[in-house]
Point group: C2
Chain length 252, copies 2
DNA sequence: TACTGTGAAAATGTTCACAGCC
DNA sequence: GGCTGTGAACATTTTCACAGTA
């Protein structure tokens, strides 16, 4: 039953700290924007502002990649775009499958940010036979029955799970069985995977809960901070709306 | 123009560390599942497994909230559900607006995980006049023109931005101007906000990029770790698909 | 006995501040 | 002069290991 670990790759990632890796895509985006405006060089101060971090952190981050800057001048935008892309593995093509083509899956399929960074949506997979053949974002949806074949035919190593929570673990097992070694999970469940498989999780309601925590702090306690006005007392009838996608409730 | 900081609340959150706050929703979900199965008590070991963390971390996390367990026995599930909910501020009703009802916005509106945790979608807002009046997830979409009124009428303090990147900052400014103090941003842009406003960011393509980084590591280097088989050589024709939402694409 | 709660150690991440170089 | 690169100080987070207790 594999003592499934989540997150944290086994591969200590050579020298680059996780926290730095997590920021590289941020820098890359900021750099890409500069590149589009044909800006030739940028200082750590400017780039940091564009990426929303402070400049000391940025410089330290870059120092793990090597010495790609020029003292007194800054960083060459194009060169840095290339170096970071290479470091992140974006100079190669990553075929990706999306499983679960509900609202969220469709949104993901349409999301331009994937195609624009070396990721290619190789297939869309759904358990509903009604969906089979229907094009979403120009790609025909295929049935779950063919999951293994699709993975293998396309050499897919990254899978995205956008199914309801109840189906996620089963889909995950099949993806892993077929050779997928990285999973991006949108279903609100903890996935159990064998060692060597990375799982990253995006949970919409968790982010909101964290915001609520801080929001509560602003209003409550004493008059510490400022800003927040009344938290409105409408703390009443919270109709438990119908579950659209993701049920949030484990099947038991 | 406010030297907009992102993330990290100003309010040092009494004693509870950020890292702990970020895990509370995880514990809450696991506990809710146990509660539904009428499990009366749970040990740190069991709960930690269900939440995907290790037990020492969980105990330390709970120790910041107080001593809610019983030595030799474990934690009372119902009691803990209540305590964590209260700590997160989920015992009150949080009206939320979603701005940008494209694919992603619709997915969010339909997402059951919101309603099930004290969050109530108070309104859907879109800039497209064609959308106005159309119901999405049973809620009629309203036009951006009415944004300020909607925020104030509903006492909204949390806003979700699911617009294209280009519109995000403008929407953000209007939300903040109307009194919103917490923002969940799905647009791939760094938002600038005044002090006292919290921003959390969910970026789909960033998560994939982090996976790609580790995926690359598994394949490359030498035969350090195990698991990962062939990374398939399909590194060829990556047709730069059309941008659905979000921009990007390196020019060079 | 079987568990929690927590100090203390270790690891990781951030910031400071300045030497070094263009 | 202006900026990078980085040791060293500081801060946060994780883990260990065990005392305390129902």
């Amino acid at each position: 039953m594999a003592t499934g670990r989540t997150h944290r790759p086994a591969t200590r990632s050579r020298g680059i700290p996780e926290a730095t890796v997590a920021r590289l895509p941020l820098y890359l985006r900021a750099l890409t924007a500069l590149s589009e405006r044909s800006v030739p060089t940028v200082s750590s101060e400017e780039l940091a502002a564009a990426a929303g971090v402070n400049s000391a952190k940025l410089r330290k981050d870059f120092s793990y990649l090597g010495s790609y800057g020029t003292r007194g001048v800054g960083y060459d935008v194009e060169y840095l775009v290339y170096q970071i892309s290479r470091e992140l593995g974006l100079t190669q093509d990553w075929p990706v499958v999306i499983v679960g083509i509900g609202n969220l899956g469709a949104a993901l399929a349409n999301y331009g940010g994937f195609a624009s960074r070396g990721f290619r949506v190789a297939a869309l997979i759904d358990a509903d036979p009604q969906m089979a053949g229907k094009p979403v974002a120009g790609i025909p949806v295929q049935h779950t029955d063919d999951l293994e074949r699709i993975i293998q035919d396309n050499g897919v190593s990254i899978g995205v799970i956008a199914t309801p929570a109840g189906a996620a673990q089963q889909v995950c097992d099949r993806l892993v069985g077929a050779g997928v070694t990285s999973i991006l999970n949108f279903a609100p469940t903890v996935l159990t995977v064998p060692d060597g498989v990375d799982v990253r999780k995006v949970d919409l309601s968790i982010e909101l809960q964290i915001l609520a925590f801080h929001e509560q702090r602003k209003a409550g306690e004493d008059g510490g901070a400022a800003a927040a006005p009344t938290p409105q007392a409408a703390a009443a009838a919270a109709d438990q709306g119908p579950d659209g996608d993701v049920p949030a409730v484990m099947p038991a």
